[in-house]
């Protein structure tokens, strides 16, 4: 961000006070607690980390979480970019309703999402559930259910990153490409996608972080079966409730580490001039 010289000339005591408040606030709310998780994890050196990495059930849980997150992110990215184009580039009746609906996963508690999915896909009493199950496809208490729940809660993140970028770049470059002979796909590949690239990357990172960390909805739909449908966040809870604080901290630390790493990597590689 190129700061205009005139916007940062005066630095009175108020400026410093505000900065101090913001830093203190972030420190107490975010940095300190997260740091403590790390500190507790390594209280006995590498013991806690080694402990969870040697437990096959925990390794399974972590693998499952990563798999689910990757699938969910792919689905949400494809869907998110498509919906964003639809929302920004086309006019159709019900557009505002759709836009409002897309924000719902952010406002509804994940646990409600979980229950709702069980109502629809539940093996015994759900709407589709019994039908799907008789075809040999189990959703609830299985990986597809976990993926569904994760997709649902992370749904708006790509869209909310991509829509403003699409609006900002405008339609003219695309129109220019069309009049130069490019078809819809060529225009998207060569013009639209490169110009929204960073919005998509940011959306993917946020979705990934959100998907790795989803707890409530997954807890309801997964059934929490050890070694099968228990995900990393569920492991944390389980360990914590069973007074295995070391294991809980270590797993939590790994989860936080991946999320923080994603965000740091992106903010480092992102070119400055793009924003």
């Amino acid at each position: 961000m190129a700061s205009h010289p005139s916007t940062r000339t005066r630095r009175g005591p108020v400026t410093y006070l505000v900065r101090l408040l913001v830093i203190a606030y972030l420190f107490l709310l975010v940095a300190w607690p997260v740091y403590l998780v790390g500190k507790n994890t390594f209280a006995d050196g590498m013991d806690n980390i080694n402990g969870i990495l040697e437990d096959p059930d925990i390794v399974h849980a972590i693998t499952l979480t990563v798999q689910v997150a990757i699938i969910a992110v792919i689905i949400n990215t494809l869907f998110g970019v498509g919906i964003s184009l639809l929302l920004v580039r086309y006019d159709f009746p019900g557009k505002r309703l759709l836009s409002a609906l897309l924000d719902m996963p952010l406002s509804v508690s994940p646990i409600v999402v979980g229950l709702a999915l069980v109502l629809v896909y539940g093996g015994r009493t759900g709407w589709f559930g019994p039908g799907l199950e008789s075809m040999g496809f189990q959703v609830i208490f299985a990986t597809p259910g976990i993926v569904l729940a994760t997709v649902f809660v992370a749904l708006p993140l790509v869209i909310r990153e991509v829509v403003p970028v699409l609006e900002e770049v405008g339609e003219e470059q695309e129109q220019a490409a069309r009049s130069l002979g490019a078809n819809a796909w060529q225009t998207f590949r060569r013009i639209t996608l490169p110009s929204i690239k960073w919005g998509v990357v940011y959306g993917v990172v946020l979705s990934l972080a959100r998907s790795l960390g989803e707890f409530g909805a997954v807890k309801v739909v997964s059934g929490n079966v050890l070694g099968q449908t228990r995900t990393a966040t569920l492991v944390v809870e389980e360990k914590y409730l069973n007074f295995d604080k070391g294991g809980a901290y270590a797993t939590a630390f790994l989860l936080a580490l991946v999320a923080v790493a994603c965000i740091i990597i992106v903010s480092v590689i992102r070119p400055k001039e793009d924003r």
């Binding site: 220019a176 060529q186 013009i191």
Partner: protein, 327 residues
Amino acid sequence: MSIEIVNVSKRFGDFVALDSVSVSIPSGQLTALLGPSGGGKSTLLRIIAGLETADSGRIEIEGVDATKLSPQKRNVGFVFQHYAAFKHLSVARNVAFGLEIRKRPKDEIRERVHELLNLVHLSQFADRLPSQLSGGQRQRMALARALAVQPTVLLLDEPFGALDAKVRKELRDWLRRLHDEVHVTTVFVTHDQEEALEVADEIVVINEGRVEQIGSPDELYDSPANDFVMRFLGPVTELGDRLVRPHDLQLLTGGGEPDAVPGRITRITRVGFEIRVVVAVGEQLVTVTLTRNEFLSLGLQVGSEVQVRIAPEVGAVVGQPRLLGAV
């Protein structure tokens, strides 16, 4: 005729942007769509390019019915007011875009891009990004990009509108020279009458979604079809019930020519090389522009009593169309 526009109408909701417009645009010429803001010029241009669809009517480009053709099949070059540069591509890649889409051989593309960048004087900037160019340079790049695909027609929507006055004038002269070299049928939109009069072979005046007049710059200036065209193309003043151009009026200090009316000078303003004299004729304030030499030889001052008349040559050349005050 290269572009045939027949009864084209376009509405945005209840608003009529184009009202049954018919225009024939001749091959190989530089045609200006001129009119006030909101008149529908861009809408018409975008309909020719296929970026907007007409509600009714027909568009023909070089004898081919293009009404239902998508923009990528029309082979028109379009230049936008705000350049629409592909921001992530270098200048050379911008220009090459249309050729790459058409899957031309690499060597041919390189050669043609080189040629075009020479034409628009941007050779030394080939590897820069558009963000590293000035506005005028970006617009020349956009022109080269549009010309690269050898379009049947070149459409420019206020191509110099976002540039400062001096660069505008340079580019305008340059466009004229470029057109004399390339000879592609060109339509450009402008709301600057001076730009249209100076550059265009033919001018289409559009106002409130209708065509007011079509003709050469001379025809439009000398025999405007109506009040609107007359007022839009240059300064006007009223003498009695006649609408005239201030430079077509004469001031006389001597005694009574039969067609002159007496008045008193109320204001004298000098604007560069021309002198603007405001004369009160009865209740009416009439503006007369004189050259500096005419002004000095008459020895005029505020308060002088003078006679005002329409220069006799003007009446002789143009005749009736100028009697428009009564319309």
